[in-house]
């Protein structure tokens, strides 16, 4: 340990106590990788310390020290982001926020929860259900944080019932060490008496943090929307033979403005959910399960009083059947698995990338009418690179998920390319293929990605990049927050954009 590191350590101990700081390599190693870094093939240096603060005050103390010692900071809630966004690209401090796991309030009146970043979706669901509330269904795993999810933009089966964004107001420690509270929390009395309203005092500062991946500071408390548990909650599943009518059907259903959940997927994705990884490894079993799945599947979640749900079901069928959909005839076990998945915070979602854990997501948001072309472009690119399905050895068919935004005015289209990380040639091919997929998506379709990925930001207007990096510069004058990563908003990015 250098003399400077030793001084920093002493000061960190004063704030956190020895048991919450470590510079042991064995403690640091697990923070240097997520399931995406394998694809990046970038060597991640050892951070200097991992620290586990327990309160906003401790986070603030750490950030002040980081500024004093000019040392990088990489916050993480559970670190499951699968985007390589929480690893310490330039060493420094990893801030593990798992200890901050208090649910400070669940308010039945405002249907909100006030949580710290170490609260998991599962923990929140469990407590919310005690008050006949629930989390708004999510796409990701239950053992991750709503705060981390919000910072990643929260990709989830949006539907007309609930706003795309669950965040209401928040408290954050800015990279310069100051504390900010957003929305109606911005005043002292607001924070105390009315922290429940997002749209206060001008531009939406809560929204500034959405998708910011830690660039603008560390969220220490988040007020998050919940939903009331309905008397009856039900999913209806429809099968389609081709993508275009399925997207059309999803659009028309969304425009009824009644859904609680809505997601379209192809059979390759459905297979991963329906089958246990051990079944996937068994070719005969895999083929048998696949044979029972429709080419495309649209699931629509409904909820309300029983009369309401009955009526909704009819209305949905009226939209779907004429567009070529038919009821999907799953067996009970498959239906149970699918239902569990759509509930959100389910173990079944973890199967999505199993058994090999290697996956690359190609994400683009476009108007619904473009989804089919986007899908064709990705499939063509995957074919061009000759990617093989690691399980069957056959040409790879990407998994497809289509999710509606705002009554399907836009669709979020995600293709997942699964691979075996032990096949290093395959990994290289996936990497090259991924790059070309994104180039095609952005250049040919104007598709939008929801995260501030630097390679994609290179094509935005200089003024846009300037605003993003300018805000960062203002709140982070010493550039301590997450330097060197693929999502870092720093001066360098502005130069890259201006240089074309």
């Amino acid at each position: 340990m250098t003399a400077q590191a030793a001084d920093l350590y002493k000061e960190l101990v004063d704030i956190l106590g020895e048991e919450n700081i470590s510079s042991e390599q064995a403690d640091l190693i697990p923070y240097m990788k997520d399931s995406y870094t394998a694809l990046m093939r970038k060597a991640i240096p050892f951070p200097d310390f991992v620290v586990m603060p327990g309160s906003t005050g401790e986070v603030q103390g750490i950030i002040r020290l980081a500024n004093k010692y000019r040392i990088p900071v990489y916050p993480r809630s559970f670190g499951v982001n699968i985007a390589g966004s929480a690893v310490p690209y330039a060493g420094g401090l990893v801030l593990d926020l798992k200890r901050m796991n208090r649910i400070l309030e669940i308010n039945e009146d405002t249907m909100t929860a006030f949580i710290e970043p170490g609260v998991s979706w599962g923990q929140l669901r469990k407590e919310a259900r005690k008050k006949r509330l629930d989390i708004i269904p999510i796409g990701g795993p239950y053992d991750t944080s709503p705060v981390g999810n919000f910072l990643l933009t929260n990709i989830t089966p949006y539907s007309t019932r609930y706003p795309a964004d669950r965040a209401v107001t928040l408290e954050a420690v800015l990279p310069n060490g100051e504390i900010i509270r957003t929305g109606s929390q911005a005043t002292r009395t607001g924070a105390e008496l009315n922290p429940y309203f997002r749209y206060a005092y001008g531009p939406d500062i809560t929204g500034l943090f959405r998708g910011s991946l830690g660039n603008y500071g560390i969220i220490t408390r988040l007020m998050i929307r919940l939903r009331p548990l309905a008397e009856v909650e039900k999913n209806v599943y429809y099968a389609f033979d081709s993508l275009e009518p399925a997207v059309e059907a999803m659009k028309s259903v969304e425009r009824l403005e009644i859904t609680r959940y809505s997601m379209l997927s192809n059979r390759h994705l459905s297979l991963r959910i329906a089958a246990h990884p051990d079944e996937l490894r068994d070719a005969a079993r895999r083929d048998a399960i696949m044979a029972g799945l429709p080419e495309y599947q649209l699931v629509v979640g409904l909820g309300g009083k029983s009369r309401q749900v009955e009526l909704y079901e009819e209305m949905v069928a009226e939209e779907i059947i004429p567009r070529g959909g038919r009821e999907a005839g799953f067996d009970d076990a498959t239906r149970a698995v699918m239902d569990e998945m759509t509930e959100g915070a389910s173990q079944k979602v973890l199967r999505m990338f199993a058994p090999y854990a290697g996956f690359a997501a190609v994400i683009g948001c476009v108007p619904a009418a473009r989804a089919k072309d986007l899908n064709a472009a990705i499939r063509e690119t995957v074919k061009k690179y000759g990617l093989k399905d690691a399980l069957s050895g056959q040409p790879l068919e990407p998994e497809l998920i289509v999710i509606p935004y705002d009554r399907c005015s836009t669709v979020y289209v995600e293709h997942e390319i699964l691979y075996d990380p032990l096949d290093s040639e395959g990994v290289q091919l996936v990497n090259n293929c991924l790059r070309e997929c994104y180039a095609r998506l952005v250049m040919n379709y104007g598709a939008v990605h929801t995260m501030p990925n630097r390679s994609l930001l290179r094509v935005v207007l200089p003024s846009y990049a300037e605003l993003l990096t300018g805000i960062k510069k203002m709140v982070d004058p010493n550039g301590i927050m997450m330097p060197g990563g693929p999502y870092t908003l720093e001066e360098q990015l502005k130069a890259e954009v201006q240089g074309g």
Partner: protein, 387 residues
């Protein structure tokens, strides 16, 4: 060989499901809850294993602490297998074996292994004292009775374990079961030694035990500890053992069902049951102990949130009952966490069916300020009182 687990290691999703019980959504890993860093959860240990395989991490004492604080409770695997199909505990135990081979074992565990090697038990107790716990109880040394009662080290030498052993012996006597003990010939069963990865010592212990059992003509063994039950049942047959084995709760359940034992009253009103890892998760018996408790009139059995396959380990496995690598930690201490959970059910007795659990949980009520409010008891003690 760790390298044989390459696929498991590289196919870890980094999803963290091994940290939280599903669908209870509660923390499940005792060492992770105790120390907090990812390196103390299966998710981090998988990464340590990967780094070792890739030569990025040199083994050392500090790293060994991260690995050997795993109690082999199996909770991570119980989450990971149905979700992802991986075997994190297998990887961790292979990592332990790798460290043992390279000579990096925490000092307390080294002592444990040394004592087992020298004395046949971790308490440094001379072998001839093996049967002293039973003096005056009428329990005899084994001479071809129907059952060999294998008491194990806690039952033989730990004062808390001895009480439980006596209770069990009392029950068997009341039921008229023909049984005997090994006394001075009893040797460590090796379950912990094996889980720690000291495979040479384990095999030596097992072979010696099998030899003694064969010499004495033992056909049926009933164990006090689920740890011994586990290794006799799952590891010994591969080494040539040909005896049958039951955990005592399984035998007692049969005795009650057959009318050989008739529980009358219970002084313990509201009881919650802590599933020992080596009875429950490792051998899927969640029922026997509950049925025994359920047969006691007036006893109300309430469940903790983390129960059966999602039971929260007391932190005594993997040799930690002796090495106590998870000790301290204030309210992050796993035994204290467990006692808090038990008390939260309204139960005034936390029952278990494992002397190691009883030892580990024993001090937690006082540390939690719950002395006199909740008591740790073994199923055998509760039943004997009701007979």
């Amino acid at each position: 060989m760790l390298a044989e687990f390459r696929e498991n290691i590289y196919h870890c999703l980094k999803c963290g499901a091994c940290r939280i019980a599903y669908p209870e959504y509660t923390p499940i890993c005792p060492s992770g809850e105790r120390f907090g860093f990812d390196s103390y959860y299966a998710i981090g240990r998988m990464e340590i294993a990967r780094a070792v395989l890739e030569g990025r991490l040199e083994p050392g004492e500090k790293m060994a602490h991260r690995v050997f604080t795993c109690t082999s409770c199996g909770a991570c695997e119980e989450q990971c297998r149905p979700a992802v199909g991986n075997r994190p505990l297998k990887v961790i135990e292979e990592l332990k074996a790798d460290l043992v081979e390279k000579g990096f074992v925490p000092a307390n565990l080294r002592n444990f292994l040394k004592n087992v090697h020298l004395y046949g038990n971790p308490y440094q107790a001379p072998r001839e004292k093996g049967g002293e716990w039973a003096l005056g109880s009428g329990v005899k040394e084994y001479r071809g009775e129907e059952y060999l009662l294998y008491v194990g080290s806690e039952g033989s030498f730990d004062p808390r374990g001895q009480k439980i052993a006596l209770a069990l012996a009392g029950i068997l006597q009341k039921a008229g079961v023909s049984f005997g003990i090994l006394g001075s010939r009893e040797n460590c069963d090796g379950n912990e030694v094996n889980r720690i990865g000291e495979r040479g010592l384990f095999e030596a212990l097992a072979e010696e035990n099998i030899r003694i059992f064969k010499e004495l003509g033992v056909k049926k063994v009933v164990t006090l500890s689920p740890h011994a039950y586990n290794t006799f049942k799952n590891d010994y047959p591969g080494l040539g053992a040909d005896f049958g084995v039951v955990h005592y709760t399984q035998l007692i359940r049969e005795l009650i069902a057959g009318g050989k034992l008739v529980p009358k009253k219970s002084p313990a009103a509201r009881v919650t049951f802590h599933d020992p890892c080596f009875l429950g998760r490792h051998n899927q018996d969640y029922q026997s102990a509950r049925e025994v408790l359920g047969a006691v009139p007036g006893l109300e059995l309430v469940e903790m949130e983390r129960t059966r396959r999602n039971s929260f380990c007391c932190s005594g496995g993997g040799g930690n009952c002796y090495a106590d690598l998870l000790g301290g930690g204030g309210d992050r201490n796993p035994a204290r966490i467990r006692v808090r959970e038990a008390y939260g059910t309204g139960a005034r007795v936390l029952a278990t069916a494992c002397p190691a659990c009883a030892v580990m949980l024993g001090d937690a009520p006082a540390a939690e300020g719950l002395e006199g409010l909740i008591e740790i008891r073994d199923v055998a003690e509760i039943l004997l009182e009701a007979l």
